[in-house]
């Protein structure tokens, strides 16, 4: 299995922003391999470069040094193949389009490969069928983020990049959305192959509940300071948050984040 192609392969990524008054070194020598179907969380304090890393992975930003390979090719190939779905902290919907119109947007962008999931089925999946003709301003924050999830899934990408997708939601909605996203993710598996997820979060609970693996980034410039597997059985439910192994993981992560910050 050693020479199996990784889904995402990051080698020696460094980034320096030079548009400010002085150059800002944000990421330093980040190397990560993510196999197909893995749910990986990236956790770290504010400003350590998590969003920058995601933008580099999906080809929106050229790194100052290092390489990104997605399925063995550069991220622009993956973009062209419509192989990446992104979800941001803000839903970033088009306010003049209905819910259904927003979900169809990616399908209207001509790509090299025309493929896609039926928009109606996706709305059903995220529980918004009845709201298909509503406009974003008529929805709650949680519903908008569900639309953003459906929109990202519309082209049936194999790689999902999520940048604090629940960061703008209240604690209660957020707690529910975690399990909701896990359910959606599981339902999207094709012939046992799950979509690969890179999930940026600030929440230790969120990271443990959702992930197969947690990568801790810390410092300025940000470096990978820990990389740990989460071996909790799936499907995971809310009960897991009170289980003994969960609490052990939480303690361990907490120590890593606090320890690294010192």
């Amino acid at each position: 299995m050693a020479n199996e192609i990784q889904h995402v392969q990051l080698r020696g990524l460094s980034h320096v922003f030079t548009d400010g008054r002085e150059p800002l070194h944000v990421l330093d020598d980040v190397s990560i391999d993510v196999p197909h179907g893995q749910f990986t969380s990236i956790i770290g304090p504010s400003g350590c470069g998590k969003s920058t890393l995601l933008r580099i992975v999906c080809g929106l930003l050229e790194p100052s040094a290092g390489t990104v390979l997605i399925d063995g090719a550069g991220p622009h190939d993956a973009q062209r193949r419509h192989d990446i779905g992104i979800i941001f902290q803000e839903p970033a919907l088009l306010p003049w389009r209905t819910v259904a119109g927003n979900v169809r947007l990616p399908l209207e962008i001509g790509g090299a490969r025309q493929r896609g999931t039926d928009a109606e089925a996706l709305l059903d999946l995220v529980g918004l069928s009845e709201f298909r003709d509503y406009y974003p301003y008529q929805l709650s924050g949680g519903m908008r983020q569900r639309v953003a999830i459906a929109r990202a899934l519309a082209v049936d990408p194999t790689l999902l990049l999520m940048d604090e997708p629940f960061g703008a939601l209240d604690e209660i909605t957020r707690a529910a959305m975690r399990y909701e996203l896990l359910r959606i993710w599981a339902s999207q598996a094709k012939a046992g192959a799950r979509k690969t997820v890179l999930f940026v979060t600030h929440s230790i609970t969120e990271a443990i509940v959702m992930s197969d693996r947690i990568i801790v980034i810390n410092g300025r410039p940000g470096r990978v300071v820990a990389d740990a597997a989460v071996e909790l059985p799936r499907p995971r439910t809310q009960e897991i948050e009170r289980s003994a192994p969960f609490l052990d993981y939480a303690d361990h992560l907490h120590g890593l984040l606090v320890g690294a910050a010192v």
Binding site: R55, C58, G59, L60, H76, Q79, R80, H82, I84, I86, F88, E90, P91, A92, L93, L94, P95, W96, L105, P106, E108, I109, G110, G111, Y135, P136, Y137, R151, A152, V155
Partner: protein, 263 residues
């Protein structure tokens, strides 16, 4: 349905009554002042004199108003078309922007109405000088607003589209153009009245019809009630344009903060 009718009536009362009262008071004070100081009709006519002159031959004023509106509208369309086309190009190229913006600003700070007399020399007496001046006055505000609108797009939506390798064409039509709509419509509220000013001034210098011509010839012959009637028609056209643009905004921008916050 009854509810709805009540709602509409209530709207008319709450939105229509306050300005109607203001208007009535101003007209009343004006009438009273002219009567009290016995102002000559050659200087400032009383509203009743203007009223009388207008209803003497309302068709005449409407026809002249129609010409002015027609020329202003053609000028608005021409000026906006050029401005928006340039804004599209500038939104995609900083080099073009740097090259053209200084020229546009120079045009903006020049009091363009001063070229009125020259227009005769260039374009003669037809409709062209009116359209030209109207278009010239509309150009800059539309250019700047449209350019801002094309650039003021939601960065998340833009990155989402880029992550799917959307073409600039597709990003323009699906994201930039709709995002610019609030800016373009608010520019119209400035440029349509400016187009009217342009048309009137061109008529002034080169006209034989239109409200600008009426104002000019009435002033030459000291027919002040006629002059004021023409101005009143101009004001009415301005108000009608404003109402039409408001309705258009409500229809097209139902999704935008500016419309929703006034509901």
């Amino acid at each position: 349905m009854n509810e709805r009718l009540r709602g509409i009536l209530w709207g008319v009362v709450t939105y229509g009554l306050p300005p109607a009262i203001t208007f009535a008071v101003v007209i009343g004070l004006w009438e009273a002042y002219v009567a009290w100081r016995d102002v000559s009709i050659l200087v400032v006519p009383a509203p009743s004199d203007v009223w009388e002159r207008f209803f003497d031959d309302p068709g005449y004023f409407w026809e002249q108003g129609w010409w002015t509106l027609y020329e202003a509208t053609l000028g608005l369309i021409a000026g906006s078309a050029v401005a928006i086309t340039l804004a599209v190009i500038m939104a995609h190229s900083r080099t073009v922007e740097r090259g053209l913006l200084p020229l546009a600003i120079a045009m903006k700070v020049t009091p363009l109405v001063a070229i009125g007399p020259v227009l005769i020399v260039i374009f003669g007496f037809g409709t062209t000088p009116k359209i030209f001046l109207a278009a010239l006055l509309c150009f800059f505000p539309m250019l700047v607003n449209a350019l801002t609108g094309f650039r003021d797009v939601d960065s998340g939506a833009l990155e989402f589209m880029r992550s799917l390798r959307a073409s600039p064409w597709s990003i323009f039509w699906k994201l930039r153009a709709p995002s610019s709509l609030p800016y373009v419509l608010s520019a119209l509220r400035i440029t349509y009245p400016l187009a009217l000013v342009g048309a009137v001034i061109a008529e002034w210098f080169t006209g034989n019809r239109g409200l600008g011509f009426v104002v000019y010839s009435a002033a030459q012959n000291l027919r002040t009630p006629e002059l004021f009637s023409a101005i009143a028609v101009l004001a009415l056209i301005g108000v009608a344009i404003n109402i039409a643009l408001s309705l258009l905004e409500r229809r097209l921008l139902f999704w935008h903060e500016s419309v929703r916050s006034t509901r």
